[in-house]
């Protein structure tokens, strides 16, 4: 797992958007072999979507050969309700970019048969060859998508009852009336997310600091479902300084030092986007032993 720390939420958003654009371009998707992207809703990805839209409008990226799968959707909320995740994705991303509508997938929370809807969703992900990169956020209680604390870490797409905490938190979007908040959602499982070939999680703000610490400094635990990321072979958490407040100083310094070694001693051009060293050619290996790093901030 990589932990990339940036000064603030804006820099986190810019970094993640740059990374996604670089990944999609490097993948060089085609109609036959599209880039399959998992997407979240909520406050965490807003800045990323803004950056992606700007990059699209600047001609830096096209989504013509991208297929998306969203994480979740409320059950029973009309699709055109302003708080539906269809509306969120339309408002913040899809209306602005060139993705063909047929390549956009979001769970239908108004399906007659919810179980079947979830099964079909999993099957569809399989049919396009699995998800190349799943982008996610995290709740203050460590949940990913609507996989509330206590969800199975090998769960698949299913209907899920929302935790009371989540209903309370969401009531701010529903006229502060908890009776208007949907109580049920369809959500991809923790297992569905972790099956993606790469997982990128955005964590910003002091209110998420405890969740970050629980997810990466303690054991894999279904009460902090993002902790499942510890078992993922290719994952990255991008967080801001505020979100590191509950981490050990040692943890923060370690992850910062990795980035510095990579950048200052090895060089970005010898690193893959995923963070591995692709070539030692021409590298002065003695520098890796005796090279000096600037002090860690």
């Amino acid at each position: 797992m990589r932990l990339t720390i940036r000064d603030n939420a804006d820099q986190v958003a810019a970094h993640v958007a740059d990374y996604l654009v670089a990944r999609i371009r490097a993948f060089d998707p085609t109609p036959a072999c599209p880039f399959v992207l998992g997407l979240p809703t909520g406050s965490s990805p807003l800045g990323v979507y803004r950056n992606l839209v700007a990059k699209f409008q600047a001609g830096e990226i096209t989504f013509r050969n991208v297929v998306t799968f969203n994480m979740d959707e409320y059950v029973g909320l009309p699709r055109d309700h302003p708080e539906s995740y269809h509306s969120f994705m339309w408002t913040n991303l899809f209306q602005h970019i060139d993705i063909p509508p047929a390549q956009v997938n979001i769970l239908d929370g108004n399906a007659d048969n919810l179980e079947l809807e979830c099964q079909k969703y999993e099957a569809k992900i399989q049919a396009v060859g699995g998800i190349e990169l799943f982008l996610g956020g995290i709740g203050p209680d460590g949940h990913i998508a609507f996989n509330e604390p206590g969800s199975s870490l090998s769960s698949r797409t299913r209907a899920k009852t929302l935790a009371y905490d989540t209903i309370l938190a969401n009531s701010r979007f529903f006229e502060n009336d908890i009776n208007k908040v949907p109580k049920l959602a369809l959500t991809v499982g923790v297992g569905t997310v972790m099956d993606a070939r790469e997982v990128v999680i955005i964590i910003t703000g002091a209110h998420k600091a405890l969740a970050l610490a629980k997810c990466i400094e303690e054991g894999v635990n279904h009460m902090w479902t993002v902790s499942a990321i510890q078992n993922h072979p290719l994952s990255m958490i991008v967080c801001d300084e505020d979100a590191t407040l509950e981490l050990h100083v040692k943890t923060v310094k370690y992850f910062k030092s990795i980035e510095m070694v990579h950048e200052q001693l090895i060089g970005k051009d010898r690193m893959s986007l995923g963070g591995s060293i692709t070539s030692m050619k021409g590298l002065d290996k003695t520098k890796l032993v005796s090279g000096e790093l600037s002090p860690i901030k």
Partner: protein, 398 residues
């Protein structure tokens, strides 16, 4: 052709919405989300609004003519003349209008009204004709303004039926007319208002010496508009403010008021007074005469010889104003300058409010899905017109 306009500030739900897109197809506004999710279609054409304001086209409820053409003047080329004006108005951002006839003899209505029946807007036909505004002849002689005294009538004999007959009968009237300006102090008018309103006509009070009490009685009976507020009505007196007193009326809803914003026919401060009293009632009208849109110079119009300047027109050799020559976009800019209102408010006074007067907000004056795609793209902050679309087609010669 499915068109998406992006990168603009869209006037929607009483605000300018950043980072939204506007979708158009077959001459109408589409619900982009619905097209995306249900029909799964992508736009065929994408237009960059370059940070401009995107708002509905302006609606002029009172315009007597333009480009040398007077709507009240029967001519052999009337239909073609109407089309010429309709096309010309697009360059001012006016995408629909009520051609207005001043007080005339019945034969004139019988001859002209059929030409003024509602007709859709298009690149070829120009701005949409919403139906005629019949200003008179049931108005007060003392407040007739430039109307011909010999044409004026009362409804003392025959009531509403006499009015309907004057215009050429029920069918012709309801097919072609949308607004009737009448004076509630003219005998028989107050009693006729409920019948006229029930026909679906907008009854507007104007050219009148009415007391505030008479004016309010007219509103109770169905009048919904005041014709060019301050002009051709008895002036504000604190003991009886006349029609102007409707601004402060406790009646709900209060009537809308047409207001001329050339800065000449109504003093800027008077515009501000009206706006402050009743901001949601303001309806910008040009009340323009045939010299609107003509280059400065000397013209023979009807039986007048007039000298046209940029913003005004005089009877030649005098300083007597011969009418208004302000266009809609200049009225909009003037109104904002005079009142200090927000951009949303001034745009709504030229789009939403007139559509509300006519009860046509489902297709005009808003950018809701299903509305006609009459759209302006304006620069900020000077509100210069950059692009005009009529029924979804871009007007190129603006």
């Amino acid at each position: 052709m499915l068109t998406k306009i992006y990168n603009g500030r869209i006037l929607r739900d009483h605000q300018l919405v950043n980072n939204a897109t506007l979708w158009i197809e077959n001459g109408q506004i589409k619900d982009g989300a619905e097209v995306f999710w249900s029909e799964k279609r992508s736009p065929d054409r994408i237009i960059d609004a370059r940070s401009g304001i995107i708002c509905p086209g302006f609606i002029d409820l009172q315009i007597n003519g333009a480009f040398g053409i007077d709507f009240s003047e029967p001519t052999p080329t009337y239909a073609e003349d109407l089309r010429r004006v309709s096309r010309g108005l697009l360059q001012h951002g006016c995408t629909s209008f009520c051609p207005t006839l001043v007080s005339s003899q019945p034969e004139v209505y019988h001859e002209l009204l059929d030409y003024l029946a509602p007709r859709s807007g298009s690149l070829d036909q120009g701005a949409e004709v919403l139906g005629a505004h019949l200003e008179g002849p049931f108005i007060c002689p003392e407040k007739r303004g430039a109307h011909e005294p010999a044409t004026l009538r009362t409804a003392e004999q025959g009531g509403a039926q006499a009015i309907i007959d004057c215009y050429g009968g029920l069918e012709r009237l309801t097919r072609s007319a949308r607004i009737l300006t009448v004076a509630p102090d003219v005998p028989g008018i107050l009693d006729a208002i409920p019948t006229l309103a029930a026909l679906g006509l907008v009854v507007s009070e104007g050219h009148s010496n009415a007391t505030t009490a008479q004016a309010e009685e007219g509103v109770r009976r169905g009048a919904r508009l005041i014709t060019h507020l301050y002009n051709a009505m008895h002036q504000f007196h604190h003991r009886d403010p006349g029609l102007i007193g409707l601004l402060g009326s406790p009646l709900r809803p209060r009537p809308y008021y047409g207001i001329i914003c050339d800065g000449i026919h109504v003093h800027p401060n008077s515009v501000k007074v009206a706006y402050d009293a009743h901001p949601r009632g303001a309806v910008l009208v040009t009340d323009a005469m045939s010299a609107l849109g003509l280059d400065p110079g000397l013209y023979s119009l009807g039986n007048m010889t007039v000298r046209k300047f940029d913003d005004r027109v005089y009877l030649d050799g005098t300083e007597t104003l011969a009418g208004n020559v302000v266009n809609m976009i200049d009225s909009v800019r003037n109104f904002q300058r005079f009142t200090g209102c927000s951009t949303v408010e001034v745009l709504e006074a030229a789009t939403l409010h007139p559509a509300q007067v006519l009860g046509i907000t489902h297709r005009k004056g808003t950018l809701q899905p299903g509305a006609d795609a009459d759209i302006l793209i304006l620069d900020e902050p000077d509100l210069a017109i950059r692009q005009v679309f009529i029924a979804g087609e871009e007007v190129t010669d603006i």
